[in-house]
Amino acid sequence: MTPTDAPLVRAERLTRTVQSGDSPLKILDDVSFAIEPGASVAIVGASGSGKTTLLGLLAGLDRPSEGEVWIDGQALSGLDEDARASMRQRLLGFVFQSFQLLPALTALENVMLPLELAGDGAAASKARTWLERVGLGRRTTHYPRQLSGGEQQRVAIARAFAGDPKLLMADEPTGNLDGATGAEVADLMFRLNHEHGTTLVLVTHDSALASRCSRRLSLSSGRLVGDERLS
């Protein structure tokens, strides 16, 4: 778990501008940093400070107006939509605030998705194991609408880890959950992250959650205003 020389994620002079009325608005302004493999990084800031935008750019879900993102040494600007999707499939796992499970698929099928997309022949058995690990071994055939919020987020976590990602990105993973459930989900996520040595990038405004990470990046009005290493 010692940081190596080559960063897993590197952002350089990232800027994202949107058109607001007649004038351009910078929602992300000249942000640069690097994340070493195995680190857990919390991105914090007030609402509208650009946290989720930054996460989207890091994951290649959106394109920066200026600047560049490197994931595992690969510059995202050189990749088209399909190549970026393929990169995510190999390297990234996702956990969203509102779970974002596919409503048409059962819990098991949702977890199987990334495995199947990668052409894994043992997708079903691996997905079943993952559901057991998040404590949902008996709910494999349930549809998302039949699960509670905490259960849905656990399915989402199983889905995120099932593809054996190097990098896990989480956007307010406990934001839609009550305190107790949120804490359970957070425990689960940090435990799995620890067990698998995954690099974690976590967007949150929950300071307790942020304090469980090894590093904290603070955003304000789209600018990086703080970078603390936590013990």
Binding site: D62, E81, Q89, Q100, L102, A104
Partner: protein, 827 residues
Amino acid sequence: MLARDWRSGELTVLAAALVLAVGSMGTVAFFADRVKTALTSQAGLLLGADAMISSDRPLPDSFAKAARARGLESMPALRFSSMVQKAGGDAAPVLANVKAVSDGYPLRGAILLADGAHPDGVRATRSPARGEAWPDERLAQRLGVSPGDRLTVGEATLVVGPVIRQEPEVMTGIMSSGPRLLINHDDLAATNLLQPGNRATWRLMVAEPTGRKTLADFVQAVAAELKAGQRIESVRDVQPEIRQTLDRAEQFLGLSALVAVILAAVAVALTSSRYLRRHLDTAAMLRCLGASEARTLALFATQFAVLGLVASAAGVVLALGGQALLGSVLASLAQADLPPPSAAPGLAAFATGVLLLFGFALPPLLALANVPPLRVLRRDLPRPRPSAILAYALGAAVIGVLIAWQAQDVRTGAIVVAGVAGLILVAAFAAWLLIVVLKRLPQRGVTWRFGLANLRRRPLASSLQVGALALGLMALLLLTVVRGELMRNWRASLPPDAPNHFVINVLPDQVDGVRAAMRSIGDPEVDLYPMVRGRLVKVNGAPLDTRQFEDPRSRRLAEREFNLSTSDSLPSTNRVTAGAFWRPDAKPDAGLSMEDGIAGNLRLKLGDEVTFDIAGTPVSARITSLRKVDWDSFRPNFFTLFPPGALDGMPTSWIGAVRLPEGAKAGAWVSALLQQYPNVLAIDVGDTIRQIQSIMDQVSRAVEFVFLFTLLGGLLVLQAAIAATQDERRFDAAILRTIGASSRQLSAAQVAEFLVLGALAGVLAAGGATAIGWALADRVFTIPYSPSAWVWGYGVIGGTVVVALAGWIGTRNTARQPPLAVIRQLG
């Protein structure tokens, strides 16, 4: 808020559905209305007028006054039989039908004059002047006269004018045909022929100028005033053949309009339920900000009302443009000029648009107003659903009203409605079955799993989608393949080898000779049929009182002599509708068989005993069967048939029909026949057949044009059905992109889903179209129907390809948008 929604593009889909719905329906209605009017006046050409009052005594002035009072054109005419002779010679006189007409004759159609250079004749620009007589070709030939000669009619000597090739009135009964002579009304007195005892028919011909709608009222008013010996005929009364043709034309056009209505309803229903889903947050926010449920409802309802009015008006404008385009395209094809559009179809289409929006948007609107304000905070709250009972009841009521209104004919409407309802039930069942099967099948690969998962996600929504797609496809099939077959079968019922000459008045000892002559030139199977004239005098022993029939047509049918015949078997162009036809070895007392239409008019039932007076001898028999007669066949058909031997000893003449080749050969054959059997009459009905064929051609073309617009409606439904789930697809696609699906994988999953959807809808549509086509052929058009396998080929393959293609086009953008934006927008 309407403007805001419009700018954001939220309403464009719904508005487009509405504009196209009203536009395509309005075009159908406008055009059908114009074509119907044109067809009626086309048929009016055969009568020379739109309506005609006839009497065996001079007509009172009151009828002409009544016509003038309603802004109708009218002119008197008189018809009688007289010997006509070439003046200044000893040539034999010829018995001719003389018609005395005024300037401006005919009110409808034209007199065509013989002209060596033009085989079809040239249009006369005037009618006979005073002192002039215009013979038809047969009379001119038989009298041996040409223009400039003189001939005598009664005491008058007239100069021969142009020779007539054809004049209106070919349809007023084949039995009254004979050589004709047209003279000026003012020369009547000089002939001194109208003495008491000379049989003549006084007529008042009436035509409705364009734009007036008073003819029906006039016909009704006159019918109420008719005295004994007077009658009024409009185009439809003239001949069963024409009536049947016009009725079918209306049915075809009505069917197209009906399908357009259903498609419009489905499209609006699909788009308004999508609107509901997209506006939940707005509604929740309004409620959250303190708007009451009523206020929220009022806000959305006003928005919808404005949208409905504007879109419907735009639809009517589109319809006017569409039908004008149609009219100009068809004008070069149609013989008759299309009358200008009337306002009624426009108002109807406009009202339909508003009604559709109301019927299908109200339930989602009520649900929208009901949205819990908490949704602002908790987006995962269950969506409010429109009250199912209200939604279905209202939708069904609106569809019912529109169909009752459009179909005009209860039977066609009922068949189409039953077909649609059946299709939806079958679609729901088939979708449910599919979902059961899908759950059991081993599912390999993300493509099929994900594609099919969308179908089983919500059984109800899937079955509705299959139903809507099947409905759209069925409409397309019904209007392409099935319509084509119906038209073909209809035309086949008037075969190109239909007889064009009737041979009548054949005496019993001439039958063998005439039959041999007919077989030598025409079909070797052709035959002659015995015909006995008799008057219906008693029903179930009680004397027939014709005054009981208020309908003038029924009274006339009851008063005139029936043509009775005998047959050992059911004629090939007849079909038994009640009772049973006798066996070939039946005894003469096996009853009689009546045509079901006339039985209905005269209120006769199976089992009634009817008595005919045949030359003073009463002949009684029970009705043992009722028959439907295919008048299109142009073969001798009889209202009343007896078993062989039942009419033995009665004064009998024989009648037959034969197809003669066109041209001089036919004339030579007729001359030879008449030379050998001077009493026999050979009547040329080729003109009538040509007229009917021309009406059929026009109907066929009109339906094809109208069909293009219904086709648009069908495509709109397809598009709306796909768009209805567009948002869900975009969202799912964004999630899949996020976790690493390639665009190829996304497309494959969506195409898989649409393939299954399209194939299933295609099977259902083909089944539905076949069933409806059969029902229409059998129950409405009463023509034989042989469904072709093409319906299934087109339905399944076409449905699969079209739906998969439309699905791919409709969703291909989903893979192009950055996933984050989609998730934020829809998540």
